[in-house]
């Protein structure tokens, strides 16, 4: 166990890609615990990846890439500005609203932050927001957005924990609303102190036009969720419909994707799929090692000793996943730890869907945790801002997001009411 941890930390610190870091740590574990370490490593990687549920992963990645380039983000931002831009701090709030809607069609947080940062940061700076504040707003909005389905992390959790992906998807909507509201209130107060002017209030006609213009992208979540909840298709199958819809809109309706660009978009999505898939597979080996080291059993024994409650366990879980979200991007942490943690959570009477959503929200915060969260890097890259400067602006937002997370932890009802209402649990 010590050796595997050391290999992991050393390679991570050296800057070895996380997939290879996790893979080599897993191989070190196999060396210790398996008679045929090489074959076991390869076997475990394949079986981790070879699952029909994970098929929706490349498809939602591809759908996201098609929409990033398809003029969809720009139209959604315009709609969000028309909706809330006229309130004090409204432009910042509009970014939060736009990200909520955009994430409703994109399953990838990296796609979200790229698209939303590129389309909103210049506008915010022109309106008097400092670049640091603009980056912090986009980053915290994207951290919230991971909860809005579709969501790749939820797909992976569904696969690892045998939970219904549709139930997880549905459970994310309201916790995202809570996080978004907390952020908006904070932005409203901040804008008051900074004296930033609001946008002009749109006329009914302008508002209607913005809606009309965004109607096609808004149709996407309707199709995805209508299809799943209406019993027409499974989440995996819905992801194919999302790809076809995004391609048709981008190529034929908006005509912003040229035929000659399509192969590159598809290949890039395959490369992202490769990076994510390898990470998942490699994490499977570490998970196998921890299992044969009896970690699940040990954890269960430990938790029965801690006089505690489900709340202690939930907060500890949230802290762990914020940390891993920042350091190794969340997905491998779920594969490695969730199989051990889930039985403990169940033993404490925590609803698995609530538990999963807390993890997703924590990973979202971790992805933008200064100074190392990968999402923050992307936002800073697009704004051409140093991470050090963004860090100071981002810290209060991390506190605000944590406040939202605490509410989600304390009130399971927020997570569970929608899936219950829709009869998914």
């Amino acid at each position: 166990m010590t050796l595997v941890t050391l290999v992991f930390l050393a390679l991570l610190a050296l800057g070895v890609p996380v997939a290879m870091t996790v893979g080599m740590a897993g191989y070190a574990g196999a060396l210790l615990a398996a008679p045929a370490p090489l074959a076991v490593t390869v076997q475990t990687i394949l079986h981790q990846i070879d699952s029909f549920v994970l098929l929706s992963l490349p498809l939602f990645i591809l759908a996201g890439a098609l929409m990033e380039t398809g003029g969809i983000a720009r139209r959604l931002v315009r709609l969000a500005v028309a909706l809330v831009g006229w309130i004090r701090g409204g432009l910042g709030m509009a970014v939060v609203a736009a990200e909520y809607i955009f994430s409703g069609i994109s399953g990838s947080t990296v796609a979200d932050v790229s698209a939303v940062a590129a389309t909103t940061i210049p506008g915010m700076v022109r309106a008097g927001y400092s670049p640091e504040l603009a980056v912090a707003i986009v980053s915290s909005a994207s951290a919230m957005g991971i909860l809005v389905p579709p969501c790749i992390l939820m797909i992976v959790i569904g696969s690892v924990a045998s939970l219904s992906v549709a139930a997880l998807f549905t459970a994310g909507f309201l916790p995202a609303v809570v996080m978004a509201l907390v952020l908006m209130v904070y932005i409203w107060r901040l804008a008051g102190r900074a004296g930033i002017a609001a946008e002009t209030r749109p006329s009914a006609g302008e508002l209607a036009w913005a809606f009309w213009d965004a109607l096609i992208p808004l149709g996407m979540p309707v199709i995805i969720f209508g299809g799943i909840l209406g019993g027409i298709m499974t989440p995996t199958e819905a992801s194919v419909i999302a790809v076809l819809y995004a391609a048709v809109v981008g190529v034929f309706v908006y005509r912003e994707i040229k035929w000659k660009d399509l192969p590159d978009i598809v290949i890039s999505s395959a490369v992202v799929t490769g990076a994510v898939g390898l990470l998942l597979g490699a994490a499977g080996v570490v998970s196998w090692f921890l299992t044969v080291q009896q970690l699940p059993a040990t954890l269960i024994t430990l938790m029965t000793l801690v006089p505690g409650s489900s709340l202690v366990f939930l907060f500890a879980t949230a802290a762990v996943f914020v940390f891993f979200g920042a350091v190794i991007e969340g997905l491998p942490a779920v594969v490695i730890l969730l199989p051990s943690l889930l039985p403990v959570a169940a033993g404490l009477g925590i609803h698995p869907i609530h538990y999963a959503i807390v993890i997703v929200a924590a990973v979202g915060i971790g992805l933008f945790l200064p100074p190392i969260g990968v999402g923050l890097f992307i936002a800073c890259g697009i704004a051409e801002l140093s991470v050090d400067r963004a860090t100071r602006a981002m810290l209060p937002f991390v506190f605000v997001l944590s406040l939202g997370l605490i509410i989600v932890i304390l009130v399971p009802w927020i997570t569970l009411v929608l899936p219950r209402l829709l009869n998914l649990l």
């Binding site: 800057g15 070895v16 076997q43 029909f52 076809l244 290949i267 395959a270 490369v271 799929t273 490769g274």
Partner: protein, 145 residues
């Protein structure tokens, strides 16, 4: 470039295949039994070819925090080391793939009844490509004045 085209073909095949699965269930009322196996095969190959291309493009997610703080000379040594570790991982996939081949060869898949080597083969092929794509990077690092 051939690998890029293979990625393209696999993704397109995946989309078409899953679509045909839904189509056959609803419209033909006779579901193609092979569609989920073909989809999983495409996915597994996409992951390992895509991961190899990600090595070539340098787009695997990594932690920059510590190495960004060291000077140019140690930085180069670290970069060489990192490239070697990536190659070593490719080596694990290749040799592990060979080690499991005797076991995989005896199995056939459920629907297509093809050898499991078709699935397992993606790992050593991806590993070999990772090594191949790392070589020029290593060369550049070593040769740089």
């Amino acid at each position: 470039m051939i690998v890029d085209l293979a990625c393209l073909a696999l993704m397109v095949a995946l989309v078409v295949d899953v679509f045909l699965g839904v189509f056959s269930r609803y419209v033909l009322q006779a579901t193609f039994q092979w569609y989920d196996e073909v989809a999983r095969l495409c996915f597994v190959w996409t992951v390992f070819l895509g991961a190899a291309v990600a090595v070539r493009r340098g787009t695997h997610f990594r932690l920059h925090l510590l190495i960004d703080r060291v000077g140019a000379r140690p930085r180069r040594a670290v970069d060489v080391l990192v490239t070697l570790i990536v190659m070593a991982f490719g080596g694990v996939l290749v040799t592990g793939g060979l080690a499991i081949a005797p076991i995989a060869r005896r199995q056939v898949t459920d629907a297509l009844e093809i050898s499991m080597l078709w699935f397992y083969g993606a790992l050593p092929v991806g590993g070999a490509l990772m090594i191949l794509y790392s070589l020029p990077q290593l060369w550049r690092l070593v040769r740089r004045p």
